[in-house]
């Protein structure tokens, strides 16, 4: 593991007009590291994810990424073509709402194959074989390959999103509440899948969640956000077992024990 960070954010600030989205966020993420961003609705965690993934432009601050050539680049300085290439090869994004991350009218195989075709794959048989392989890895039955995701359950859609993202072997994946709105048993299966894929492929992940159990299961480090600011961060088990800030203590104390 190299010591140079993969992702580096400095002083990230976002205003929506006069309203603060998030302020002065610094973070580093290394290869293979999972960072959870927790906080309640409106705390700025989704804004921060948007800034890190270049979906939003910061009002101040910057995000840098170590490209595959090893050079740390300011993402704002990338051309649109470079940015798109990055988004669909070295990065992934798993949305809470599968319809935001999938083409709902395109078959599961086509959804997975799209990234390959986008980077120039032009052999149907090879694309299909790769897509089938990835559907297997996310536990989608081979006979569903030509069905479109409108016929899939919520859990399957999320697994399809993951396959679609991982087919180009990204190094960094952003996840926005990937288990939100799913049944508990479906959540458990998805979390286990994410956990094993992260370990197998050494993925770096930034995951936004309001579920502390998800953060504990998946993440190495955690950032707690409140009113647009990071109020506490550190080792996940340390922050959750020994929370320091009043708000973090409240969050931890509010979790229902099963």
């Amino acid at each position: 593991m190299t010591d140079a960070p993969l992702l580096l954010a400095e002083g990230l600030t976002k205003y929506y007009g006069a309203r603060l989205g998030c302020a002065d966020v610094d973070l580093t993420l290394h290869a293979g590291e999972v960072l959870a961003i927790v906080g309640e609705s409106g705390s700025g965690k989704s804004t921060l994810l948007g800034l890190l993934s270049t979906a939003l432009d910061p009002s101040a601050g910057r995000v840098s990424y170590r490209m595959r050539d090893g050079i740390l680049r300011d993402l704002a300085a990338l051309s649109e073509a470079e940015r798109r290439l990055l988004l669909r090869t070295d990065w992934g994004f798993v949305h809470q709402n599968a319809a935001d991350g999938l083409r709902m009218a395109v078959s599961a195989g086509g959804n997975v194959g799209e990234r390959l075709m986008a980077v120039g794959a032009r052999n149907y048989g090879a694309i299909r074989a790769e897509a089938a392989d990835w559907l297997g890895r996310v536990e989608i039955a081979a006979d569903r390959m030509d069905d479109d995701p409108r016929t899939f359950s919520g859990g399957m859609r999320q697994r399809l999103q993951i396959a679609r993202n991982l087919v180009t072997r990204p190094r960094l994946v952003f996840m926005d509440e990937p288990t939100g709105g799913l049944d508990v048993s479906v959540q458990a299966r998805l979390l286990d899948l994410i956990r094993s894929l992260v370990a197998t492929y050494g993925l770096a992940v930034v995951i936004v969640t309001h579920d502390l159990a998800v953060a504990r299961l998946l993440s190495h480090r955690i950032m707690v956000m409140k009113a647009g600011r990071v109020i506490e961060h550190g080792l996940t088990d340390q922050v959750l077992d020994d929370p320091r800030e009043p708000y973090t203590q409240l969050l931890v104390a509010s979790v229902l024990a099963a």
Binding site: H30, L217, G234, Q238, D241, P246
Partner: protein, 243 residues
């Protein structure tokens, strides 16, 4: 067997694996009007390679908190936890999260009282995980996990099942196996035999002896006197550090 605070300074042999100095910890409970709960202060002791040190004292004296501070699970208000790291020494109190994670992978392991189960992951895989993280091939890691579970008398039919539905004793054995399987040089034990019967306690005592023979340093909390006397070389009385 029971000695006072040992001192690294007077020890004639090699540097200790673990050197705890002037550790202090208190909790501030913001949900209870900022109530401040002092836990310990001035905690200092060393543990040498091949030595098992028991933390002694009544419940609430801060024994578990000390173990958790060493492991990086609790924050450290003051003092240092110096851990041998190959040819260097790392202070857990100052280490960055990544550094602590690395130390947990290679230098220290922790057997907690309760197993934190992972959905859908079988007992065998839970136990083998630290070895896989070290880079041991999967088949080898699984074989060693099975051997250890077998030794701890966990019925083979349970090996592939997720431990969520196991009894307390079964879960604890999974936990012990997971803690003992790695090759870390420091092992932290928080009541590893609390829910075990005599036969399995004896297995744990034997495992501790083997770790010591391999040069591993151990720090443990043992409520049961018999286990403590069998496993520990000396006891550090935590009441002396009450804050």
């Amino acid at each position: 067997m029971i000695t006072a605070l040992s001192s690294a300074i007077s020890a004639p042999h090699a540097d200790p694996v673990l050197a705890v100095r002037d550790l202090a910890k208190s909790f501030t409970l913001h949900l209870q009007g900022g109530l401040k709960l002092p836990v310990v202060s001035g905690v200092s002791f060393d543990v040498a390679a091949g030595e098992c040190v028991a933390l002694g004292g009544p419940s609430g004296a801060g024994k578990s908190s000390i173990l958790k501070m060493i492991f990086g699970n609790y924050r450290i208000d003051a003092g240092s936890v110096r851990l041998a790291d190959a040819d260097a020494v790392v202070d857990v109190a100052q280490a960055a999260p990544r550094e602590i994670l690395r130390l947990r992978q290679h230098r220290m392991a922790y057997v907690s009282q309760f197993l934190r189960v992972i959905p859908r992951v079988g007992a065998r895989e839970v136990v083998a995980e630290p070895l896989l993280a070290e880079g041991v091939p999967a088949s080898q890691a699984i074989a060693r996990a099975e051997a250890l579970l077998d030794r701890l008398n966990l019925p083979e039919r349970l090996w592939r099942l997720p431990p969520a539905t196991f009894s307390g004793g079964e879960q604890q054995r999974v936990n012990v196996a997971r803690g003992f399987i790695g090759s870390q040089s420091l092992l932290l034990l928080d009541e590893p035999t609390a829910s075990l019967d005599a036969a399995n306690r004896a297995v744990v005592i034997a495992l501790i002896a083997e770790k010591k023979a391999q040069g591993c340093a151990l720090v443990g909390i043992f409520h049961d006197t018999e286990t403590r006397e069998a496993a520990a070389d000396r006891v550090v009385d935590v009441t002396r550090f009450s804050a």
